[in-house]
Symmetry: C2
DNA sequence: GACACTTTGTTAATTAATCAACATTTTGTC
DNA sequence: GACAAAATGTTGATTAATTAACAAAGTGTC
């Protein structure tokens, strides 16, 4: 990004994005028209086409942006050094994840909402699994080394992750990213039962 | 308004107004700079000067607009026909008042807020009194006809009116304009004690 | 299927806003 | 009071957005 974006471009896109998410929340993606967006954003309809091809393009770009940002901080391999989890780094990652959630809060709230885009939750979980899977391959981690099938672990993690994000989005008073990092790192390293304070019976 | 206002003008003013009120709420009128407004509104600073002279001009125009709208629906004389209050018309007026409040909700909330403009409450009460007083003169109402001094009545009404508006602004779930009209017309015609359900001892 | 209405995608001329820059004024600190 | 930094008010060249209009496509109703 060698040149600074003209303020009008930046502003117009912001207005379009905000109008779009608001309208999705109100009436669902399918019912939203370009005219609706233009009216809500107080822009000329023709202006929309200077920035986006159609509403599908807009959705793609908004989603890409939010999810790219999320996956850029979801870097699991850094937490593992010689098969050992590094707590501090794990905590930092979770904190960044929730900072990203805060930043794109409206997007995720709308997408998970009642008029949100079809199957958004599953798609997000899939993205997370692919991201983790790809990173493992890059670093030569071998699934045979796991006691539990890799796929099972990935499904567990991605579903749990998204489940907790949905919980967080629904809180009227949201825990800070630091609080979430503290709590989740405990759950991840000790398992949910121990993190809740229960003792696990010793296995012979 | 023979010609339609260019959408850009409309939008730019809206963005400026919103940014301004937000900043007043955050840091108080005195601390707000034009640069602050431009940044918050995502406009070029020079653009501000295409629309307003300075922040005092902006405040004047925003206030004028909200208060003009309020006084345009505050027309007490229409409720009185041959010294008799017409309940239905009174209720309609109150309803319109609260519609105006809803429309300019952010403005009034900020102005009445902790960083709001100095003495806003008193100024608003004064405006209301003048408006009522002027209308009475136009229609030849004679203060001598009142059993209670005119000034006292005006102060009672204006203070009570503003007090209730402040109450309404603070409600997280606000009564609709219809509900407010129902309740307030009862208070006004029967007095606060009877409207609350108490019986008044008969005076000999 | 016929038809009316709505929405879309596009175009050229016009216009409000941006950018960069500057001199001046104001504010804050010592 | 001296000085640096921040804010103001302004200017001309450039640019993104608006307007008005049109043909075509899509939607809803009978």
């Amino acid at each position: 990004m060698s040149k600074k974006m003209d303020l009008r471009v930046k502003r117009t896109r912001k207005l379009i994005n905000e109008a779009f998410l608001k309208l999705i929340q109100q009436k669902g993606f399918d019912s939203v028209t370009i005219q609706d967006i233009a009216e809500e954003a107080l822009i000329n309809r023709g202006t929309f086409y200077l920035h986006y091809e159609d509403k599908y393009d807009l959705l793609e770009k908004i989603s890409r942006s939010a999810i790219d940002e999320l996956t850029s901080v979801l870097n699991p391999v850094l937490h593992v050094k010689e098969h050992e989890v590094q707590i501090e780094k794990l905590r930092t990652t979770i904190e960044k994840v929730y900072e990203s959630m805060e930043k794109n809060q409206v997007f995720y709230t709308v997408m998970f909402g009642e008029h949100g885009v079809y199957n958004f939750r599953n798609n997000l979980e899939e993205v997370i699994r692919e991201n983790f899977s790809k990173k493992m391959i890059e670093l030569g981690v071998r699934p045979e080394d796991f006691e539990i099938p890799k796929d099972l672990i990935l499904h567990f993690i991605s579903a749990a992750f998204v489940g907790v994000v949905q919980w967080w989005l629904k809180q009227s008073t949201k825990p800070s990213s630091q609080e979430m990092a503290m709590k989740l790192s405990k759950i991840i390293t000790a398992g949910p039962m121990q993190a809740a304070g229960l003792k696990i019976e010793k296995q012979l």
